[in-house]
């Protein structure tokens, strides 16, 4: 009888039990609702009135074995999409902004050549965000590291903190040559944004990746690293990849294969 006593406490009409059932149902509904919403997000892009979510982490995989010598289609595509003047055409090449650059490296011992694009690595623990005195350098919920030009004072501390030399300062007035989608201006620091305007539009890719695929090199893969079914996640599972300066423990959004 003593074993049955607690059962009678939890009789169907007990308020305790009702509260518990209510809570359990609410939790179950939340669980079924949230993944459903998530799936729609990933498949069709985010509605324009919804904020970027930390359920997504945008990332890029660079396959240095596929990256072709002498090809700089990714750099051209970036400059066209985002409206920065290519360094070769700039009046002051040494201080011209550069969002992405092509590196051609050679091992001095073996003479082996490696090609790769270098740009903002979209660190999870970004040094540029740590050092910014005004909070202008920030990481968006979906892992994209950006500069809020409304608060950037152009001190360039972030440029010094970045281990990848990924940021540039706009030294000269741009005289209304900016793209409507990509505001940029004198006295502000800027860098690769993972084509945030395209991401928010729901394109799910960047200008450099599109250009690389169009050129047939397929050296770049872009996608959501948090979604186990995305192409980038599958490739990252299969291929051995490296983070540049992995010793800094920054958890990079750009991973390299073949370096």
């Amino acid at each position: 009888m003593s074993e049955l006593k607690p059962m009678s406490d939890n009789a169907p009409d007990s308020p305790e039990r009702r509260r518990f059932i209510g809570a359990a149902t609410a939790t179950a509904a939340g669980l079924t609702l949230v993944p459903g919403v998530m799936l729609i997000e990933v498949a069709h892009g985010r509605p324009e009135d919804q904020a970027a979510s930390s359920a997504v982490r945008w990332g890029m995989l660079v396959d240095a074995n596929q990256c072709a010598t002498g090809c700089d289609d990714c750099v051209t595509a970036c400059s066209t999409e985002n409206g920065w003047t290519p360094v070769a055409e700039s009046a002051h090449p040494t201080q011209a902004p550069q969002w992405i650059r092509k590196l051609e490296l050679q091992d001095p011992l073996t003479q082996m050549e490696t090609n790769l694009p270098m740009m903002c690595q979209h660190c999870a623990d970004a040094p540029c965000v740590d050092v910014c005195p005004t909070g202008a350098s920030f990481k968006r919920a979906d892992g994209i590291v950006l500069v809020n030009r409304h608060t950037c004072i152009g001190c360039r501390y972030c440029m010094m903190a970045c281990p990848y030399k990924a940021r540039s300062l706009v030294h000269e007035s741009l005289n209304d040559t900016q793209k409507p989608d990509v505001p940029r201006g004198i006295g502000c620091v800027e860098s690769c944004t993972f084509c945030v305007q395209k991401i928010d539009r729901g394109d799910g890719t960047t200008a450099c990746v599109e250009a690389c695929t169009a050129a047939g090199h397929n050296a770049l893969v872009f996608g959501d690293m948090n979604d186990p079914e995305s192409e980038i996640s599958k490739r990252l599972r299969e291929l051995p990849t490296k983070q540049v300066r992995a010793d800094l423990n920054l958890n990079l959004g750009v991973r390299y294969h073949g370096i």
């Binding site: 324009e48 904020a51 920030f138 007035s173 209304d176 793209k179 989608d181």
Partner: protein, 150 residues
């Protein structure tokens, strides 16, 4: 004598009031700053808010929207600077802030308030300038109005 003085005072007051009344009309006065030319928008039935509200508060709406967009990635069309430019662009210059009669500049120079927006933002609409309601928000409004008429 006292009565005469009082009468004189009343006459002078009336004259002064009448003169002040004359001064109140909207005729341009010599030496006054020329009133801003406010160009009609090239498209759209109405603004996103009341005209009077927009004149006083557009900067608050823009500031709020800019933070939502930059920090969170919310890119709704209502209250976006690009939305303003799409409708208020000048047909002559293709911009909102190039010539002194362009929409943003005409008022801002009258009020002597410097605009920083266009140090970084483009003053031109995206793509070819169009008088069609291509903006999703406007299209939605027009759709709503059409439904209301039925």
């Amino acid at each position: 004598m006292k009565r005469l003085l009082a009468l004189g005072a009343v006459v002078m007051m009336t004259a002064a009031l009448a003169w002040a009344g004359l001064d109140d009309d909207d005729q341009p006065r010599a030496g006054g700053a020329p009133r801003p030319v406010i160009a009609e928008p090239i498209k759209g039935e109405r603004c996103v808010e009341d005209e009077a509200y927009m004149r006083r508060n557009h900067m608050r709406l823009l500031d709020h929207h800019r933070d939502e967009t930059v920090l969170k990635g919310i890119r709704t069309k209502k209250y976006s600077l690009k939305g303003c430019i799409d409708c208020h662009v000048s047909e002559k210059t293709g911009s909102v802030a190039t010539a002194k009669d362009d929409f943003c500049v005409s008022c801002h120079s009258y009020a002597a308030v410097k605009i920083d927006c266009f140090d970084c933002h483009s003053t031109k609409p995206q793509g070819p300038m169009t008088t069609q309601a291509s903006n999703a928000e406007t299209a939605h409004d027009m759709h709503g109005m059409a439904e209301g008429n039925q």
